[in-house]
């Protein structure tokens, strides 16, 4: 739709001079990010996520207070390595938060994205502004993805800081038994954080779709988190192993493959592909739903 539409009515039309700049569209994203991260709820979620590495770090420190030792191999991935190298706290913290805490936080933000605006009534004002339904949905999804990244980085940075404070740093051993330098270890940690954030993209799209189905923010959040729990449980049931490769969470822990030497890409690629598929399917379903929806709230 261009702005070339001729003015028909005769009254004073000072607005006729408005020529929108495509870049102005980004203002909505900027506002969306501000709104997302200024919410008390978002900050609380990030706070909880930041606390997980602190708790894990302290627990490991107390456990191994009487001298470092190889653990029994129980608990989250990499946990036995933390006392030898604080950088492993990053991996452990991500492995500990990825099954539930991280996606739960994402589910809350994604589930609330449209439904929350709808129940607050602000959705109708955004749409008559007019934000444009497709544009608003894309902006919301971008903001949710930004939250995925922020949440992951909060866990990683908190873990990095706690690990550096409580444990020695230095060269580290990959899970294949080879050694890499600390700088490369940091690089891999960053890469892992990015992969973990990308792992949440499919679930975020699912949450956004749920969010377009209802006018209740709380209901959408609860449904999204409920779906997460259901899928996580179904992923454990052996009889469903034919379906499990299509669960969005099935390859989540493949980020650990980045710590192999050489890196084992198969599951990582499968994970990212699956996330892209979920994003495409549920993103377009959310679009189909949202652009055709009557906004009655």
């Amino acid at each position: 739709m261009s702005r070339a539409e001729p003015e028909t009515a005769g009254s004073g039309t000072p607005e006729a001079a408005r020529t929108p700049n495509p870049l102005w569209s980004l203002g909505l994203l900027r506002g969306e990010l501000l709104i997302t991260f200024r919410r008390w709820r978002t900050l609380a979620l990030l706070g909880v996520l930041a606390a997980v590495p602190v708790l894990v770090g302290i627990a490991v420190k107390i456990e191994t207070g009487d001298g470092p030792s190889g653990g029994g191999g129980e608990g989250p991935a990499f946990i036995s390595q933390i006392s030898n190298n604080g950088l492993f706290l990053v991996f452990t913290a991500l492995a500990a938060t990825l099954p539930f805490f991280l996606p739960m936080a994402v589910g809350v933000v994604a589930g609330d994205a449209i439904a929350g605006e709808s129940s607050a009534g602000t959705l109708r004002y955004l749409l008559v502004a007019p934000a444009g339904r497709t544009r608003l949905l894309l902006t919301k999804y971008a903001a949710v993805m930004a939250f995925c990244l922020a949440a992951t980085l909060v866990v990683a940075v908190s873990a990095l800081a706690v690990g550096a404070l409580l444990f020695p740093l230095g060269d580290l051993t990959t899970i294949s038994g080879t050694r890499i330098g600390y700088a490369e270890g940091l690089g891999r940690a960053l890469l892992i954080a990015l992969v973990v954030a990308a792992s949440l993209v499919g679930f975020a799209a699912l949450g956004l779709f749920v969010s377009t189905l209802t006018g209740s923010g709380i209901g959408a959040m609860a449904t999204t988190v409920g779906l997460l729990i259901t899928v996580q449980i179904l992923d454990q049931i052996p009889q469903l192993d034919a379906l499990q490769p299509y669960f969005f969470s099935h390859y989540w822990l493949s980020f650990a493959d980045l710590m192999r030497e050489p890196v084992y890409w198969d599951d990582l690629v499968r994970n990212l592909g699956l996330q892209a598929l979920y994003a495409a399917v549920f993103g377009s379903a959310a679009w189909a739903r949202f652009t055709a929806k009557d906004i009655t709230a």
């Binding site: 739709m1 702005r3 539409e5 028909t8 009515a9 005769g10 009254s11 004073g12 039309t13 000072p14 607005e15 408005r18 929108p20 700049n21 102005w24 569209s25 203002g27 909505l28 900027r30 506002g31 709104i35 200024r38 919410r39 008390w40 607050a120 009534g121 602000t122 109708r124 004002y125 955004l126 749409l127 008559v128 502004a129 007019p130 934000a131 444009g132 544009r135 608003l136 055709a292 009557d294 906004i295 009655t296």
Partner: protein, 324 residues
């Protein structure tokens, strides 16, 4: 269509129609018919009162005009363009307050307006702060701009919602119950504001369930009941359509009623010392003379001008607060 609808469906849209709908119908999924074959024409430059009891389909109509709800049948044009199809070109030139304000409680009043302005892709970010400040000033909220919106009173929220509608120069303002929750002083301010805007050439589409509000500020009005348009036209014409009533104040109410009937008055109603009736087709002076001649002690004799409410009651045969 039953009822004395004033306008027939117009094949051409007059140049000056800011809003025109043809057969606009909305049936919700439950089968409930919220709006039934609405043919509405809002002339440019008018202050248009959209009247009806709660539940009569006013809000559904407004939502269809704003592209929030898709019509089941019929079409709607706003600023000469079809809705909801042309929402992106039409809505930047329309300010709206729909079913009360909705705000982000954790943001300040100013940030709420910034948020809504950012949502408009045609809004220039370089002038955003000034426009927001001007809108706040216009509704008298400049002093409270930094306060969190959740701390606002209902009236302040209403003003903030109005400010959001005034962020840009608009050709059409759609105000749904704009004086809800305001004290009489606030109501007066809103009315003044509406008149001001109208004198700038902005068309104002004002929905309300308060008749006197419409009578005070509107040049045109339409009345809805149970999803249907009952009547629309200039306010003066609408009131004229309904006849005034003869009011006699007297201690001899029974006798007065008898005489009035004799004189040809219809619908005689006695309420204590007041007797009201439809005036007969003859000089009121003669009616009064007949009353006096019959020994009725007349304390007051008046012909009350018809109000919009009378017009409404005459059209629908029911009170105003009955939900459709």
């Amino acid at each position: 269509m039953a009822g004395p609808s004033v306008t027939e469906p117009e094949p051409e849209r007059a140049d000056d129609a800011v809003i025109s709908t043809r057969g606009l119908t909305k049936r919700y999924r439950g089968g409930q018919l919220a709006v039934d074959g609405l043919d509405l024409t809002v002339p440019a430059g008018s202050v248009f009162g959209f009247l009806g009891p709660n539940g009569s389909g006013k809000t559904t109509t407004i939502r269809m005009l704003m592209g929030l709800i898709g019509p089941t049948a019929g079409s709607a044009r706003v600023l000469g363009r079809p809705m909801p199809h042309a929402a992106r070109t039409v809505l930047p030139r329309v300010g709206a307050l729909i079913e009360g304000p909705a705000l982000y409680g954790f943001l300040s009043g100013r940030d709420n307006l910034l948020r809504y302005d950012e949502a408009d892709p045609t809004a220039d970010p370089r002038t955003r702060r000034e426009r927001v400040a001007a809108a706040l000033d216009r509704v008298g909220l400049a002093a409270a701009a930094g306060k969190k919106a959740k701390a606002y009173s209902l009236g302040m929220k209403q003003r903030l919602g109005l400010a959001a509608a005034l962020l840009q120069p608009r050709r059409l303002l759609v105000l749904d119950e704009p004086t809800n929750g305001l004290d009489p002083q606030g109501m007066r301010e809103i009315r003044t504001l509406v008149r001001e805007l109208a004198s700038d050439g902005t068309t104002v589409f004002l929905s309300s369930h308060l008749l006197d509000e419409i009578e005070q500020v509107c040049t045109h009005a339409a009345v809805m009941a149970r999803g249907r348009l009952i009547i629309q036209g200039a306010v003066a014409d609408l009131s004229a359509g309904a006849r005034g009533r003869l009011v006699v104040t007297t201690p001899d109410a029974g006798e007065a009623a008898r005489v009035l009937k004799e004189q040809g008055a219809g619908d005689v109603v006695i309420a204590e010392d007041r007797v009201t009736a439809e005036p007969p087709d003859r000089d009121p002076a003669e009616v009064n003379a007949a009353l006096v001649a019959a020994g009725v002690r007349v304390r007051g004799f008046a012909l009350e001008r018809a109000s919009l409410e009378d017009a409404f009651v005459a059209l629908t045969g029911e009170g105003f607060d009955v939900a459709g």
